[in-house]
Symmetry: C3
Subunit: 104 residues, 3 copies
Amino acid sequence: MEHNMKLDTAKLITIIADDAIENKIIEDLKSVSVKGYTITEARGEGLNSIHNSSWEGKSIRIESLVSESKAEKIIEIMTDKYLDKYAMIVFSSDVKVVRRERFN
Amino acid sequence: MEHNMKLDTAKLITIIADDAIENKIIEDLKSVSVKGYTITEARGEGLNSIHNSSWEGKSIRIESLVSESKAEKIIEIMTDKYLDKYAMIVFSSDVKVVRRERFN
Amino acid sequence: MEHNMKLDTAKLITIIADDAIENKIIEDLKSVSVKGYTITEARGEGLNSIHNSSWEGKSIRIESLVSESKAEKIIEIMTDKYLDKYAMIVFSSDVKVVRRERFN
């Protein structure tokens, strides 16, 4: 690249959940000091893994770009607090982001 | 991680298509027994690869977390049924999800 | 797969930004001849990395599937034009797409 731009690896955490627990999840993200998050309204259908009951309806899709250690903490909090009680999906993927140092 | 949490690899299939064929696509996903899916409303612009005509307007973004073999089946169904007739985008990415066994 | 389907690697560029600059970003994407893009409405909260001021509110999430060289160009344009003035997130991930050759 012309400007010798450096890209860093980061984790993109995606959480899909009932919109009723949006505020709780945002509090959890802030408790591990995420720098930001993005929410889109969604709908869908799924299977609640514990109760084997199906759910269908309004949900939210929350994304946050975080470090690997924060990703692990978030997954752990979501797992401990919600995954056995709510129909929730949490997944993590590797992405490349522009280096923060260029802007700070 | 404190709880020795195990993460599994899964495929995240994303399908972006005209909202007119939402029901058909959902039926196709159910025909391969996906456990769930998430839909967000979208809009965009693109090029229909076959007819070289451009499209613009309302579309839907459907996501589903599946195994590698289901991902292949879904891509094949989408390709065979829609990709030569509709402006549709289908892509797959590797993600990490919390192990299902912890919850079953 | 039955039809010996070939998948190509592509870059999925995701840009999350204030909806006020949607038109500018779309012009930029077109300036590097992207084949299409998808927009979803979003909301969120973040930290403007330069000014260390926080932002909160309506934003857009723009996605585009591109080649590696176009991904680099887009990241460079976004970085040069917006990242020091706006609260914007740009990231890139590796995805697999059905080969274009099958359809052209």
